[in-house]
């Protein structure tokens, strides 16, 4: 403890603030811990208050530092949770594949985020939808992949993916996809402001996204 590691990112990577939202028990903390430390504990505590972890990620030879914010999912803690939405770069909406009501509640989470994060252009904000617990058996599954894609289409969200924090399936990919989506949104914002058009190679990012489970939902 007394070593006192400086928590700030040591390099000058772009720092991206990622907020993970979703109902209690869908696996927000587990996704974060799997991504950051490749560790999974089925019986880890539910989150109280707010926690965050930093993790560097490299995409197309560019390094980014993700600051991932994990909050308590219960409605009760709304007023203490929402101030942390401000300044987010990416919002990860999560549900559990074996929990239909957590899927239905994504509308609520999306609206809560948009309201409190103070986003100017709703449509272009980089949301990514993550259906966690893809390790559950077919009998236990309550949300199909088709329902996920339909919901994303209806809500104008381009990126979605099914993950399992338990068996590590697609977790790295989910965060990578989130950053790629952010890059595209950024470049679009830049383009609309008629400035620095040469910063990002757009086509490449998009083709990456097409490899995801949610390819049909990409916008062009």
């Amino acid at each position: 403890m007394s070593g006192r590691v400086n928590m700030r990112p040591t390099n000058k990577n772009a720092l991206l603030k990622v907020v993970i939202l979703g109902d209690g028990g869908v696996g927000k903390s587990c996704l974060m811990n799997r991504f950051v430390s490749n560790h999974f504990d089925e019986h880890s505590f539910h989150t109280i208050g707010v926690e965050f972890l930093n993790k560097d990620i490299e995409i197309d030879n560019e390094s980014y530092t993700l600051q991932i914010w994990d909050t308590a999912g219960q409605e009760r803690f709304k007023t203490l949770r929402t101030p942390f939405y401000r300044g987010s770069d990416i919002c990860m909406l999560t549900y559990a594949i074996d929990d239909k009501s957590s899927f239905r509640n994504m509308n609520m989470w999306k609206n809560e985020f948009l309201y409190y994060a103070d986003i100017k252009e709703n449509s272009s904000f980089p949301f990514i939808v993550v259906g966690n617990k893809s390790d559950v058996s077919i009998e236990e599954r309550e949300v199909s992949q088709l329902e996920l894609e339909t919901w994303c289409n209806e809500n104008g969200i381009a990126s979605c993916i099914e993950t399992s924090a338990k068996n590590a399936s697609n977790v790295q990919e989910a965060f990578k996809m989130a950053v790629q989506h952010w890059l595209r949104a950024e470049s679009r914002a830049d383009r609309t402001e008629c400035t620095y058009s040469d910063t990002v190679d757009l086509s490449k990012k998009q083709s990456d996204v097409r490899n995801s489970c949610c390819a049909g939902a990409t916008d062009d």
Partner: protein
């Protein structure tokens, strides 16, 4: 023994007096119950003493001296009441010559009496478990010349000993009169501080004080030079302050009042089985509830008696009930529990389908039970039956208090209770008792949590304005990083054993309400250097505080918090805002938003009334702009 030959006149005796502060020589008597006496020794120049003897001394007066040195009185305490025979073992008494006492303070609804030496130290304090100390005060007033301190109406200053006229001729300095109590400089500073804002009132107050001295003290001529000195110094100070700082003539007196020094309060021994039994009468009633609580506050509870005592602390058992009444109560509570449990157990599938709110609660409880303390053996493994009990209790609580329902964090609070009780019904009712103490943590609008965070800030600002200012400047005045500490009373920061030790201390409500906030202040005080040296901002502070989990030495923290509490209570500039938080009576002479004085920048957090929520959210939001 020579004491036996000496003539002794007992002016006053009172049983059931617990000693909580004592001179070093008598430290082994601390936290024991005994008899307080006022004694006169006619053969020794009418010397009067305050004496105190532990209960056992009477009962075991035939025990050899050498045994006393090795056997602890605490271990052998037993119940004893009724009038005590004249004591032959007077040499064992705690004895304080009354000439060494300069003032005494009455507190805790006249149940606590503290004698002071006039140099800022408490000589000894007593808690009167049978009634109060009114009788003793009356006697003291009869034999001593006392006046009530102007600064603190609970303090009696001893002017002199009327029966001993020679002493009056001794060097009686201004300070010894004790009108200004421990530090006359503190009064002067108050005057200096108030002068620019309220020059007229401050001056009049100061002069009225001096008038007191002049009229009441017979040697006023001797004091003239002292008075002159003080006035001279204070005027000098005003000049210094106003000339060096002022460009705005009424604002910049920058003197920050100091707290008394932090003293050590070593932890005591835990309440033992023998002590506990001794404190109950044959019927099982506990007479001296405050005595029990005090021992628990000082040292916690031994594990062999913790289970029983928790039931009292958590209002499942009643302190003043006989065994028979207790049995009755248990029976009632048992029936009541199973009625409530049956209510949700008998819910049909269709009922459930038509009851969204219930379904959601049930689902969240299921999820949280599965992730509560699973690393402890008691809850480990698949299909652990204790998980089912945890679930049943939380479901039943949701029926017991449907408005509150289930809120995340409750399973944390229940876990140690169930672990200790290992009994569904007992754990349920103890959990109810705990929830009654902390239910505001789980308010729908989180108002209780916000208020606590604000109180925590007020305390921090009072205790350490520099640190509070640092937090403000680093967008952290919302104190949000302490949210988890407060919500589940450090459950996530401590081991199961440590959290049990802390909770039982906090349940005593000693030494004041909201002591858990002082625990926070104590931990923050330990960490503040790291935070400030590294120039941490809000996110880094949050991370640092979250990462303290598992690295907090709770005994040290409790001791420190107790020391800080005493610093705060003894502070000359104690504000009403702080008094309110720690449950002291309001004096009405300082404004509630006083913490602004210490740290002018934090005004947006310390306002009260309707703006609370707005200011909190502004402040919290402010952190992320």
């Amino acid at each position: 023994m020579e004491d036996n030959q000496e003539e002794v006149l007992e002016i006053f005796t009172q049983d059931g007096v617990l000693i909580t502060t004592a001179p070093a020589t008598y430290i082994h008597y601390l936290n024991n119950v005994g008899t307080l006496l006022i004694v006169e020794y006619p053969n020794s120049n009418l010397t009067r003493c305050i004496e105190w003897k532990p209960l056992d001394l009477t009962i075991d007066s035939d025990v050899q001296d050498q045994e006393w040195t090795v056997v602890s009185t605490v271990e052998r305490r037993r119940t004893y009441s009724g009038s005590l025979p004249v004591d032959v073992n007077r040499s064992k008494h705690l004895k304080i010559n009354m000439n060494d006492i300069k003032s005494f303070r009455v507190s805790h609804k006249n149940q606590k009496l503290t004698f002071r030496d006039g140099k800022g130290d408490n000589v000894c304090s007593f808690i009167f478990q049978h009634g109060n100390c009114d009788g003793l005060i009356a006697v003291l007033k009869g034999i001593l010349k006392t006046i009530v301190s102007r600064r603190d109406k609970h303090v009696y200053c001893i002017l002199d000993d009327i029966k001993n006229p020679e002493r009056q001729q001794l060097d009686k300095s201004f300070a010894e009169l004790n009108l200004f109590q421990e530090q006359s400089s503190a009064y002067v500073w108050k005057f200096v501080k108030n002068f620019p804002n309220r020059p007229y009132e401050a001056t009049m107050e100061a002069f009225s004080k001096i008038t007191d001295i002049v009229y009441r003290g017979p040697e006023h001529r001797l004091m003239d030079s002292e008075v002159h000195n003080i006035l001279h110094r204070s005027l000098e100070a005003i000049e210094n302050n106003t000339t060096t700082h002022s460009h705005d003539e009424y604002e910049l007196i920058a003197h920050v009042p100091r707290l008394p020094a932090l003293k050590e309060y070593p932890r005591g021994r835990p309440l033992s089985f023998e002590q506990w039994k001794a404190l109950q009468d044959s019927e099982g009633q506990v007479e001296d509830v405050e005595a029990v609580k005090l021992v628990i506050f000082r040292g916690g509870i031994s594990s062999n008696v913790r289970k029983e005592v928790w039931k009292y602390l958590l209002d499942y058992y009643r302190w003043k009930c006989s065994h028979a009444e207790q049995q009755n109560l248990i029976k009632q509570r048992n029936e009541e529990y199973f009625i409530m449990k049956l209510q949700w157990r008998s819910m049909t599938k269709i009922q459930e389908d038509n009851f969204t709110d219930y379904r959601e609660r049930k689902s969240l409880i299921e999820k949280d039970v599965n992730r509560t303390d699973r690393t402890l053996d008691y809850f480990a493994g698949d299909n652990n039956p204790n998980l089912q009990v945890l679930y049943d209790i939380l479901m039943t609580y949701a029926m017991y208090n449907f408005d509150l329902g289930y809120v995340q964090g409750m399973s944390d609070l229940l876990s140690p209770i169930l672990y200790l009780m290992n009994n569904e019904v007992e754990a349920f009712w103890c959990f109810v008792g705990f929830m009654n103490k902390v239910s505001s943590n789980f308010d729908m609008d989180q108002a209780g949590m916000k208020e606590q965070l604000q109180h925590l800030h007020t305390l921090t600002a009072f205790y350490d304005p520099e640190f509070a200012n640092y937090l403000y400047k680093h967008d952290s005045a919302n104190m949000f990083f302490c949210f988890r500490w407060l919500l589940v009373w450090f459950k996530r920061e401590l081991s199961q054993q440590d959290v049990m030790r802390l909770w039982e201390v906090l349940w005593t409500d000693l030494p004041c309400q909201n002591f858990h906030l002082l625990i926070c202040v104590a931990i923050l005080d330990t960490e503040k250097n790291i935070l400030m040296e590294n120039n941490y901002g809000f996110t880094e502070i949050l991370k640092h505080i979250n990462d303290l989990s598992g690295n907090i030495d709770i005994s040290t923290v409790i001791s420190k918090a107790e020391g800080m509490y005493n610093q705060i209570v003894d502070a000359e500039h104690l504000t009403d805002a702080v008094r309110l938080i720690i449950g002291l009576p309001i004096l009405g002479n300082t404004s509630i938003v006083d913490s602004k004085e210490a740290s002018p920048d934090i005004s947006d957090l310390t306002t009260n009334g309707d703006t609370d929520e707005v200011s909190y959210e502004n402040a919290l939001t402010h952190s992320f702009l």
